[in-house]
């Protein structure tokens, strides 16, 4: 250990002599840390190291600290250097010396008498020169108030002493004066007087204080007695005034408590009917906006996509690895949320305005009332009743609370009237129908449940099934009701296929179906899709075999109509509506028209197609083709047409004059009336005139549809070309002279709207391209972690990981330092021992030397004696 120690010390010595630049330029001193690769923009601290320098620095630091401590070990005394700036490392030594010198000079400067060696320094106590204070033998009153301890305020000194030196002078003057008048008071007396005075004052002050305290205590007690009364409405300001200084914490606590205390809060304001209506309007607005967005389709979606981070390596080829899976605000959710809110509001104000808004929630609310009234009348189904009653009791509670501060509620008379009606209806129904129904497990179950009842009762039964099996009541209920939708749909189909079709019943069941659909959109969607898919498959098979198909039956027409009722028809793409439109289109192009029944179903399909696109104003070529074909059927002379009909219609053929009016008599006596939907299933006419009437009705319908579609497609750029064939047909070929005025008017109307001036179109140009923004290399901000890879997912985990890493690093560093310290200390100890040994050796040698000299001298003396 000795050798390297020496070497090091030698190196240190050399280093100390040299300047830093010299060291840095010396290649033997520099250690370069080789990097594997350069990272652009990263600053490195440790690329060049000066190991010698840093080692000597470390040693120096240890010498300054550790070594000192070691030396001070086991020593209780401490030497503290009080010299100016002794431990101030920032100060330059020259400055220190200068400052010290200046201070020294200042001190000596203030001497009064250069010859007075004793009074070299003026000693002070609390800023007063001791030399001056010493002259009065009474020091400060030791038992004076702790509040004013040691403070010789000007006031005090003035009252008591007249202040310092002044007092002395006064005193002397007073003495002189008193000497003149009466017997002058001695100094002793004066002081005693003063003492008494001050004691008196003190006592007075104490008394005052005690009184105040008593008063506050009394007040406190008073307060406590009335605290309960005032618990709701604390006169805060008063309390504050009362409780001033004493018991600060207690007071604070109480204030806080009061702050947190329950106060009677004003409940939410009652909604006026206008407000409710406005909310309903807003809700509808929102839904409408949502619908429009879906109508625009994906085009808009892509536009609204927000800017994402662009890497510098991005080729701008649109290739993105990770997709944004952000779920857009779902329509359904929005709806339900809103409805729930509405429901809550309704709970709060039940009975106030039931007839506002035509939501199905309202229906529920009403039915709730019904149920309640029923439960009054007789024992009721438990599930049902308790549910509703609970709601009611809540609302009661609310209203009670409300009534404290708010205006009174005014129940409207209208609701009670409706209630009564409902009650009466219920009474009538009660006679026969049970109130609970198990959910049907199969279609035949449902049929047996509703079989033989009137449409109204069937409706009621379905409603009760729905209520008894509400999803919130039991686990399996959701599935049961989902099935119910399918069964109901099947039932409607069956009703439509009966002859005559029971369309009235279907009509009654529509609200039920709608309600179920709202509850289970997915199940409804699936059920509808299966119905459509099966029918389309059938049609496709017929087409493959025969090359044509027959028109879908009334049940399918009803299903298509129901689709339009349950699902939004204006969506750009919809899982049910789009296939349904495809189905209609397929039927309109592939089914040849050979009978009047088929004309009827074709026209129904046209109506449906038109309904589907009324909102979205989308173009359905098949619709125009079919209407043209139908009109073509009414053209008596099929020569030199000037237009071409599209399959399934043929320019000439055996069924091509299906709608030609046979007799003038029939044409004249016709009057417009709506067609029966059951006409699809079969028509029977008593006479040819009646047949002609039917033909004319079909023709009128067709013309009206043409009119509607003309209005719908007016804005399309190829409007002229789309309606060109129809225009030719109407102007040149269709005989309307003999028909009644209604047809003539309709014909004229359509003709006018179709043959307006040809619309002029600007030539097509591409969409204006948005200028591509300059690529900005926005830095990708990545959290810099002081440990390697990113581990852990959550923030806490990452923080934990970071701390763990830091701890480890610090631990290692500390260990290393400790090791170095011990090494240093050992070295120091060794040098100490060595130096001690050396000293001892030297001393021993010395002793030996002196002894030897002594011995020598003694021998010499002995020799000399001899």
């Amino acid at each position: 250990m000795g050798k390297p120690q020496k070497k090091k010390s030698l190196a240190d010595k050399v280093r100390r002599t040299k300047t830093t630049t010299e060291i840095k330029n010396n290649p033997f001193e520099v250690k370069i840390n080789r990097k594997k690769f350069e990272v652009l923009g990263r600053k490195t601290k440790h690329d060049v190291g000066l190991p010698g320098v840093s080692r000597s620095k470390a040693i120096q630091k240890r010498k300054d600290t550790l070594l000192k401590e070691y030396k001070q070990k086991d020593k209780s005394n401490k030497f503290i250097d009080r010299r100016f700036g002794e431990y101030d490392t920032k100060m330059a030594p020259e400055d220190k010396i200068l400052k010290r010198f200046a201070l020294e000079r200042q001190r000596t400067n203030g001497k009064k008498d250069i010859y007075n060696l004793n009074e070299e320094e003026e000693l002070t106590h609390y800023g007063q020169s001791l030399s001056e204070i010493e002259k009065f033998n009474d020091a400060l009153d030791s038992d004076s108030d702790s509040e004013e301890k040691g403070l010789l305020s000007a006031e005090l000194t003035a009252s008591h002493f007249g202040g310092g030196g002044g007092l002395l002078r006064k005193k002397t003057a007073g003495e002189k004066g008193s000497e003149d008048g009466q017997k002058p008071k001695s100094r002793q007396e004066l002081i005693e007087e003063l003492i008494i005075k001050s004691k008196q004052e003190k006592r007075e002050r104490q008394n005052q204080k005690e009184e105040a305290q008593e008063l506050t205590e009394k007040l406190d007690q008073d307060w406590k007695s009335i605290q309960f009364i005032l618990s709701k409405k604390p006169p805060k300001s008063e309390a504050k005034e009362d409780e001033n200084k004493p018991k600060l914490e207690e007071y604070d606590m109480m204030v806080r408590e009061l702050g947190f205390d329950m106060k009677a809060q004003p409940s939410e304001k009652m909604k006026t009917p206008e407000e409710v209506a406005r909310e309903e309007k807003e809700r509808l607005h929102k839904l409408e906006a949502d619908r429009l967005r879906r109508m625009q389709g994906d085009v808009e979606e892509s536009k609204s996509k927000k800017q994402v981070h662009w890497s510098a390596d991005d080729l701008n080829d649109g290739f993105i690895l990770d997709k944004e899976d952000k779920r857009a605000l779902s329509y359904q959710d929005g709806k339900w949320n809103i409805e729930e809110e509405l429901e809550k509001e309704k709970e709060g104000e039940e009975g106030d305005d039931d007839d506002d808004g035509d939501d199905d929630e309202e229906e529920e609310g009403e039915s709730g009332q019904e149920e309640e009234s029923q439960s009054d009348a007789e024992s009721e189904d438990e599930n049902d009743g308790s549910d509703e009653e609970e709601e009611d009791s809540h609302s009661d509670l609310d209203s009670e609370q409300d009534s404290e501060g708010e205006e009174e509620q005014t129940p409207k008379p209208s609701s009670s009237v409706s209630e009564e009606e409902q009650l009466a209806q219920q009474e009538a129904a009660k006679a026969e129908l049970p109130y609970t129904f198990t959910a049907p497990e199969s279609y035949s179950d449902l049929k047996s449940l509703i079989h033989g009842h009137t449409p109204e009762k069937q409706c009621l039964i379905v409603e009760r099934i729905q209520k008894c099996n509400h999803p919130s009541l039991a686990v399996g209920n959701k599935l049961k009701l989902q099935k119910l939708f399918g069964f109901l749909l099947e039932y409607l189909g069956e009703l439509a296929t009966r002859s005559p079709p029971e369309l009235g019943t279907i009509n009654k069941l529509i609200p039920q179906l709608y309600g179920l659909c709202q509850l289970f959109p997915d199940a409804a969607c699936k059920a509808m899709q299966t119905v459509l898919g099966d029918s389309a498959h059938e049609m496709e098979e017929a087409i493959e075999v025969k090359g044509r198909a027959s028109f879908p039956g009334l049940d399918m027409l009803i299903y298509l109509k129901i689709t339009a009722l349950l699902f939004p028809t204006s969506d750009f793409r919809h899982p049910v509506v789009t296939p349904a439109l495809m189905y209609i289109s397929q039927a309109l192009t592939k089914c040849p028209v050979t009978t009047l029944e088929e004309v009827t179903s074709g026209l129904i399909l046209c109506c449906l197609a038109l309904e589907y696109v009324t909102l979205s104003q989308r173009f359905v070529p098949e619709l125009i083709n079919f209407l043209l074909g139908i009109l073509h059927l009414a053209v008596p002379v099929k020569q030199s047409l000037g237009y071409t009909v599209v399959p399934p219609f043929r320019p000439v053929g055996k069924n091509c004059d299906l709608l030609v009016i046979r007799s003038a008599e029939g044409a004249e006596s016709w009057s417009r009336k709506t067609l029966p939907l059951s006409g699809v299933q079969g028509l029977s006419f008593l006479s040819e005139v009646e047949r002609d009437h039917y033909r004319l009705s079909l023709l009128a319908t067709c013309l009206d549809l043409v009119k509607r579609s003309v209005l719908l497609y007016k804005s399309l750029s190829s409007f002229d070309h789309i309606f060109q064939p129809i225009r030719i047909l109407l102007t040149k070929h269709l005989p309307v002279e003999s028909c009644s005025t209604h047809i003539k008017d309709l014909h004229q109307e359509v003709l006018v709207s179709v043959s307006g001036a040809p619309t002029l179109q600007p030539p097509l140009v591409f969409d204006k391209k948005k200028p591509i923004p300059l690529k900005l290399f926005t830095p990708k901000i990545v959290e810099v972690l002081d440990y390697g890879k990113k581990r852990g997912s959550s923030k806490q985990e990452r923080e934990r990981e970071r701390l763990k890493h830091k701890y480890k690093k610090e631990f290692k560093g500390a260990l290393r330092e400790i090791r170095k310290d011990t090494k240093f200390l050992a070295r120091e100890k060794l040098t100490e021992i060595m130096s001690r040994d050396l000293e001892r050796k030297r001393k021993v040698k010395e002793l030996f030397g002196s002894l030897a000299t002594q011995e020598g001298e003694w021998k010499a003396m002995k020799r000399r004696k001899k």
Binding site: Q332, K561, T578, S585, T644, V646, L677, L716, F766
Partner: protein, 530 residues
């Protein structure tokens, strides 16, 4: 001998036992005839059975004839050479042996006549039996020829018999589809095929001459069935399957030569197509023309007349003729004047609705793929197609929209159709003339494809999206329309159903209260719940 026949006929048996006993009877008699010449007269009984009323008897008799005459042919018990008439036979001097043979040969002839008649029997089983027996006879005759060979190198094949069979197959009154498909197995044989083909052409020539230009749908249907079931070999080396093996010089036989086969095939078809065909037949022929007729003809160019005639007919027939014409133009250097003009003329609204839509657009795509076409022509096609697209069903639209875009891509000068920046905001009437037949004069280049703009509002989302393509500059690479060609409406429908909706299904927010309400109430305005 003929005198003794009447005594031996005892067919008037009681009806009850007829079935089993007649079968036994027939079989007994066949055995007797074969084994002993004494009982030769039983042949008459057997032939009598061929005309019986009962189906089963007839079938038995057919089988018996098959057995009997095959055995006789094998034994050489039938007279060979020019057969004298029966009267001559009696009067002339012949040995008993020869007389027997002549007698048997006469019976054989009458048997084949009867069998040929039976080919029109109402029962298919009988028909089939007769056909098979006749073909068996053809085989046996090929092996044991009945014609006297006057020189060594004569190729013997029972041409006459086969011709008679073919003549019966090509009936003028009856649809022989089933029998012809049964017959197809014999057409595998090279020699049978060859002789059938030549007999078909003879028959057609004869029958159609007689009809004098009037179409005979049934006959022509039969001819077409038979002709189209001829399956030609593609190479000479494949000619190895013969019904009749020739003793000498097999290679020199006409039926063994591939070239002769092709010639016969060609003659047959030309003969058939020379006469006026009903339109359904036209379509049938045109459908198979390009891949089962043209490749096997020695001179396909001979079809030009037929094809151009068909091309001029118009409608679906023209569309179908296009395929054959394409082969001729493509492989045989046919120069067709005004081809594109006619192609342009074919574009009618029905083009999107006919069954052969995929085939037509496939070919149109090929015809219009040339980059050397004049711009006005391509523009005219694009414009006309987009005008017609206004009446097309969605499945066709999904195909025709990329088709139009491809046209514009191939001919960048056509870009003005969708992008005319020179005169923006200057509304004008469409200068395109739909009625003009000549693409050169229809002013398509001065127009824009507003129809596609209209179709952007189409109800089907995919169509609307496809039409949106013209809003932006078209991409460089062409759309692949080969998959879209066959897209059917039902496939499109199913695609719509299978589309997985990630979000919840949107619902109508307007509360439905009645069946006929909602969305404008168009249905409610015209129809009532009755």
């Amino acid at each position: 001998m003929a005198t003794s026949t009447s005594s031996n006929v005892n067919v008037d048996e009681p009806e009850g036992v007829a079935n089993k006993s007649s079968k036994k009877d027939i079989n007994n008699k066949v055995d007797l005839v074969i084994n002993n010449r004494k009982h030769a007269n039983y042949v008459f009984d057997i032939l009598e059975y061929l005309q019986a009323d009962k189906e089963k008897d007839v079938v038995c008799a057919v089988n018996a004839c098959n057995k009997l005459f095959c055995a006789l042919l094998k034994r050489g018990d039938l007279f060979v050479g020019q057969l004298p008439s029966e009267e001559d036979m009696l009067s002339a001097e012949h040995s008993a042996e020869q007389k027997y043979r002549m007698f048997m040969r006469h019976r054989y002839n009458s048997c084949t006549d009867l069998l040929l008649e039976l080919m029109h029997h109402e029962s298919f089983q009988v028909k089939e039996g007769a056909l098979l027996t006749l073909m068996k006879f053809v085989t046996m005759e090929g092996k044991f020829p009945l014609l006297a060979v006057d020189w060594e190198e004569h190729y013997h094949f029972p041409r006459e018999l086969l011709k008679a069979v073919v003549g019966q197959l090509l009936s003028e009154k009856e649809d022989m589809a089933l029998l012809i498909s049964r017959f197809q197995e014999f057409l595998e044989m090279e020699d049978v095929r060859y002789y059938v083909m030549s007999s078909v052409s003879d028959s057609v020539a004869r029958v159609m001459e007689k009809a004098k230009g009037v179409a005979l749908p049934v006959y022509q249907g039969n001819v077409f069935l038979l002709a189209s079931s001829v399956c030609m070999p593609s190479k000479e080396a494949e000619l190895s399957n013969f019904l009749v093996k020739q003793a000498a010089k097999q290679e020199d036989w006409k039926a063994a030569k591939f070239k002769e086969h092709r010639r016969a095939f060609e003659r047959m078809w030309l003969c058939f197509l020379k006469y006026k065909l009903p339109s359904s037949m036209y379509k049938k022929v045109l459908v198979i023309l390009h891949d089962s007729i043209l490749p096997h003809m020695s001179k396909p160019t001979l079809m030009i007349d037929f094809l151009t005639a068909a091309y001029d007919v118009g409608g679906a027939i023209s569309l179908l003729a296009l395929n054959g014409l394409f082969v001729l133009i493509h492989q045989h250097n046919l120069d067709y004047p005004d081809f594109y003009k006619k192609l342009y003329g074919l574009l009618e609204p029905s083009v999107f609705h006919v069954k052969y839509r995929a085939r037509f657009f496939h070919l149109a795509n090929i015809f219009l793929s040339s980059s050397h076409l004049p711009v006005y022509l391509v523009a005219a096609f694009a414009k006309r197609l987009s005008r017609l697209a206004l009446t097309a069903p969605p499945a066709a639209l999904l195909m025709v929209l990329p088709f139009i875009c491809n046209l514009i891509r191939r001919h960048p000068a056509c870009r003005v159709l969708i992008h005319r920046p020179s005169a923006p905001d200057e509304p004008c009437d469409d200068p395109y003339l739909m009625e003009e037949d000549d693409p050169a004069h229809c002013h398509a280049l001065e127009s824009s494809l507003w129809e596609l703009q209209t179709l952007q509002k189409h109800y089907h989302p995919d169509v609307a999206k496809a039409a949106m393509a013209i809003n932006k500059p078209l991409t460089e690479e062409e759309d692949d329309i080969s998959e879209l060609l066959e897209l059917s409406a039902y496939e499109l429908f199913e695609r719509g159903l299978k589309q997985k909706e990630k979000q919840a299904v949107p619902l109508e927010f307007e509360v439905a209260t009645q069946l006929l309400g909602g969305s404008g109430g168009v249905l409610g305005a015209h129809f009532s719940l009755e």
